[in-house]
C-alpha cells in the first residue's frame, strides 16, 4: 500500500513537472512537493508514526529516495529553464548594456602623461614655468644672443608690451624653465618640463603655431654623453617597444655641446623623435654653475610628433580642431 502511495506521487510529480513553462510555476511545484511546511514529502513523513515499527525503516528510506529524486529533477529542470528558450521570454539577454557617456582625455595629454610617467619612474622631478617668457630666459641665457643666426630657426611671437627690463614673447621651447630651475636650485638636478610652446608657423599637416614639448635636464658630477644615450634609449624602449631601433646623429643646438638628434626606426623608416646634448658650459656660466665641477645633459621631444608617430595620425591639425568624433576615440 505504501509503495503505491510513493509510485502515484512520483507519477503525479512527473506529469506536473512536464507541464511547467516558467519560473513561478516551478517554484509552486517545488512548494507542493518538497516544501518544508506543506510539501507532500513532509506530509508523508508526518504519517510515519502510524506505520508499524518493522516497516517504518523501509518506508522512511523510500520517502528519502523520493525526496532526493524530486530535488534532483527540480534542480535539473531549473537549470534547463535558465539557459533554455523558456527564460528568453522573460529577458532578452542580447540587449546591449546600459550606456554611460564617458568623456576622453585629449590624446596629446594622454601621450604627455605616458611620457611623464616613464620619467617619474626614473626619478625625475617636474618643473613648470610661464608661457609668456622674457627674451632673456628664452634666448640669451640659453646662449642664443640677439645676433645669433640660430634665432632665425625659432619663429617667435613677440608680445606687444615691454617694460624697463624685458622684452616679452611666447616661449618657443620649455628650455627657459631649465634656466629658471638652475637659478633657483642647486645641483644635483634631474628634472622634466612638460608644457605648451609656440612658434610662428602656419598650421598645416606637420606644423602648428601651438604645440607641446617635454624637456629634461640632468646636472651632476661626471654626467656624460654615455649617460645621455643610456637614458634616452631606456626611455624610447619604454615608450615604443623593447626592441625599438634607435640612432644618434650629431647636430647643433646653441645650448648644448656636443649635440645630437635621435631617430627611431618605425615601419622601415628613420623618424626624428628628439634633440639632445650635453649642457653647454656657456649656459652653466649664465646660471652660476661651475662647469668644471658639474656637467649635465638636456633633451627635448615634441609630444605632438610622438602622438602622430604612435597613432599614425594623418595631420597635426587633428589635435587642435577638437572634433569630438576624433577626440572620443582615445
Amino acid at each position: 500500500m505504501h509503495d503505491e502511495v510513493i509510485d502515484s506521487l512520483k507519477k503525479e510529480f512527473i506529469e506536473k513537472l512536464n507541464k511547467i513553462k516558467d519560473n513561478p510555476s516551478l517554484l509552486a511545484l517545488k512548494g507542493e512537493f518538497v516544501g518544508r511546511k506543506r510539501g507532500k514529502i513532509n506530509e508523508l513523513f508526518k504519517q510515519m508514526g502510524k506505520i508499524p515499527a518493522e516497516k517504518r525503516k523501509i518506508f522512511g528510506q523510500a520517502i528519502n529516495e523520493l525526496k532526493s529524486f524530486f530535488e534532483q529533477e527540480l534542480k535539473q529542470f531549473e537549470r534547463n529553464l535558465k539557459i533554455g528558450s523558456l527564460s528568453q521570454k522573460e529577458e532578452d539577454w542580447t540587449l546591449p548594456g546600459y550606456k554611460i557617456d564617458i568623456g576622453s582625455k585629449h590624446l596629446l595629454l594622454q601621450v604627455m602623461d605616458e611620457v611623464i610617467d616613464i620619467f617619474l619612474k626614473m626619478g625625475y622631478h617636474i618643473e613648470d614655468g610661464p608661457e609668456v617668457e622674457t627674451d632673456y630666459y628664452n634666448f640669451t641665457a640659453l646662449n642664443i644672443p640677439e645676433e645669433h643666426p640660430a634665432r632665425d630657426e625659432h619663429d617667435t611671437f613677440y608680445i606687444d608690451y615691454e617694460d624697463r627690463d624685458n622684452r616679452y614673447l611666447l616661449r618657443t621651447h620649455t628650455s627657459p624653465v631649465q634656466i629658471r630651475t638652475m637659478l633657483k636650485k642647486k645641483p644635483p638636478l634631474k628634472i622634466i618640463i612638460p608644457g605648451k610652446v609656440f612658434r610662428k608657423d602656419e598650421p598645416d599637416d606637420t606644423h602648428s603655431p601651438v604645440f607641446h614639448q617635454l624637456e629634461g635636464l640632468v646636472v651632476g658630477k661626471k654626467i656624460s654623453m654615455a649617460d645621455l644615450k643610456g637614458t634616452l634609449t631606456t626611455f624610447l624602449k619604454a615608450l615604443f617597444k623593447e626592441d625599438v631601433q634607435v640612432r644618434f646623429r650629431p647636430s647643433f643646438f646653441p645650448f648644448t655641446e656636443p649635440s645630437a638628434e635621435v631617430d627611431v626606426m618605425m615601419n622601415g623608416e628613420w623618424l626624428e623623435i628628439l634633440g639632445c646634448g650635453m649642457v653647454d658650459p656657456a649656459v652653466f656660466e649664465n646660471v652660476g654653475i661651475d662647469s668644471e665641477e658639474y656637467t649635465g645633459f638636456a633633451f627635448g621631444l615634441g609630444i605632438d610628433r610622438i602622438a602622430m608617430v604612435k597613432y599614425k595620425a594623418r595631420s597635426l591639425r587633428l589635435f587642435y580642431e577638437n572634433d569630438l568624433r576624433f577626440l572620443r576615440q582615445f
Binding site: H106, Y161, D163, F198, A226, D227, P250, E257, L324
Partner: protein, 677 residues
Amino acid sequence: MKISYNILKELIDIDISVEELTSVFNNAMLPVEEMERTDDDTIFDVEITPNRPDLLGHIGVAWQLSAFLNISPPELKFEYETVKGENIDDYIEVEIKDTRCRRYSGIVVRDFKIQESPEWLKKRLESLGIRSINNAVDVSNYVMMITGHPIHTFDLNLLKGRKIIVRKGIKGEKILCLDEEERELTEDDIVIADTEKAVAIAGVIGGEETGVNDETTDIFIESAYFIPRFIRYTARRLRVSTESSYRFERGADIKATVLAAKYAAYLFYKMGGKIIPSVKDVRAGEISDNIIKLRFERVRMVLGVYELSDDKIVEIVRRLGIKILSSAGKSIECLIPSFRRDIFREIDIIEEIGILYGYNNIEGTIPSVFSGIYNDEDRKIKNRVENILMNYGFSQVVNYSFLSEKEASVSLEKREIIKIKNPLSLNFEFLRASILPSLLKNSEYNLNREQKGIKIFELGRIFYLEQNKIREEEHLSMLIAGEGENRWEQKKSDMYDFRALKGAIESIFQKTGKEISLINHDNSVFKKGVSFEIIMDNRKIGYMGEIADDLKQLYDLDKKMFYAELYPIEFINELKEVKYKDVPKYPSVWFDLSIIVSKENSYSDIKKAIGSLAIKYLEEFYLLDVYEGKNIGDDNRSISIRFIFRASDRTLNSEEAEESFNKIKDELVKKFNVKIR
C-alpha cells in the same frame, strides 16, 4: 646646401657607394634631406647647422668627410699665368677705414669677354641648383660653392678714382643694388665705396652701377672678411638675405680670402681673361692664432668613454686639421685651423672627437644622480579632477592660446588683454583672458558636425595685464550645450543642463566634505538671473551660468549653453585632504517627504530653514525628486526629500525619529506654507 659627389671626388680620394656615403653624411653632421641622381652625378641636399659655415662649400664638406673617414684632407689644385711687367698697384688702390672689415683681398682681370659660360660650368651650377647668368656671375657663384667664401666682381673701369675704400655708411646715403632696389644706409653699415660713392653693401649685396655688365672687359675681384655680427645686423635691418650675407653672418674663413680670389682668377684665366700679377691684400689688425688646451681626462669624462686612449685622442684631433703645438702629458695645446670658426673652447674639440669616434659607438649608461623622490601630488589631483569630469561625460579639448580681438575680449572678469606684435593673422592677434571663447568655438565647430550635445572641458592658461604686469593663470573650464542622444534609458547623469554641470562641479569636491554654493552675480557673458559666482569657504573659486544670447550670436549658436570657469589655484589644496567620517554602528531610520511649495522659495531656502532647526538625530537629508506640472499649479513646485535619522550610541526607534521628522514638517508648513502630499 647641395653637394655634388663628382666635385667631392675631385677634392678627396673617396670612392664608396651612394648608400654608404649617405650614412657617412648623416653621422658626420651633414644630415641628408634629399638625394638626387643625375646622369653622371649624385646630388645630396644637406642641412647645414648655423654653427658650421665651413660646410657651406665643397672644400669644407670634403674636409669633414676626410676627417670622418680618416683619409687625406682635400686639396684645391690649380695654376694660372699672370701678365708680365704689370702690377695691380697701377690699377687699383684699397684702403680699409672701417676695421669691422678685417681683411680685403682682390685681383684684377683684364680683357675678359662677358658671354655665356662653358657647358661644364653651366651644368655644374645647374646641378647645384644655381641658374647660369653669364660667365662672370657664374664664376662668383661657383667659387662660393667650392670654397664656401663669397666673392664679388666689379667692373674695374666703373670704379671712380680707381680706389676701393671700406668705410662706415653715411647717414642718408643711398645705393642702387644689384636687385634693382635702392637702399638707404646708416653709420652702422659697412660700405664698400669708390672715391665718389658706395658701390656695395659689404658682405650683403653689390651695387648695380659698378657691377659687371655685358660691356665689361676689366674686372676687379673682391674677396674680403667682415666681422659676422655686423653683416647680420645690416642684412636684418635691410631685410635682405643673400647667399653672401648668409655665409658672412655665420662667419667666413679670414685666411681663405686670397685662395678664393685666386681660384676665381684661375677660372677667369681658363675662360680667356688676363690676370694682373700679385694679389691685393690689405688687413686691419693681426690675425691671431686660435690655440686651445685639451685635457685627455676631460674628453673621456664628458663623452663617458673611458677606454678612449690618449693616443687615439691625438690621432682623431690630427684628422681634424688641428696642429698639436705641445704635449704636457695629461693635455695638449691645439692650433685650430682658421676655417673652423665653431671651435673656440675645449668642449668644441671634445664634440668633434665624439663625432669622429661615432655617437653610435658610445655605450649607454644610466646617470647616478638621485635628487630625492618627487611629490607628484598636484598632478595627481589634477588628473583626478579630469577623471571625475570624464566620468560625467566631459571630453578634454586643447586650444590655441590666441584669438581675434573680439573673441579675446570675452572674459568673465574685466581684463586688459595682451596683444601679439607679429600674429599669424588678425584671428590670432590677442592672448585669451578666459577659456570661454575657446570652448564656444569648439561648440560651434562640433554642433555643425553632427554632434547633438557638447560636454567639453579645458585645463589651460589665460593671460592679462594688471598694473603693468603680465599675469598668467591656469583655469579649468567646462561647457555643456545641446542635448543628449535622447535615449529612453537616459539617466540623470546623462543630462545636458544646468544641474548636470553643477553636479560635475560638486563631485569634484565630494570627498573633501566641502560644499560649494552659488551666489547670484550679474555677468555680461551670462543670461541675467542664470549667472553666479561659485563660492567655497567664503572664497570665490569661479563663475557659472547660462551663456547670454548676444554672445551665442557671435558664434552662430542657438542651443542652450551652460558654462563654468574655475580657478584651481583657489581650491587645489583643499582637494588634497579627504575628510572621513566613521562608518555608523547602528541602523538608521528614514522618512520621505513630498511637499508642494511656491516657486518663490528655493531649495536652498528650505535647506537653510531645516539646517537652522538643529533637529535631533537628523544625520542628513537629500533631494529625491523635483516635479513641476499643471496639476499642482504653475506657481508651485513639488519637492521630495529623504531624511535620515540615526543615534550614534544605540538603535533609534521609529517613534523618536518620527518626532524629529514631524518637527521638520511643522516648520516647513509654518515657514513656507507648504502642502504635504
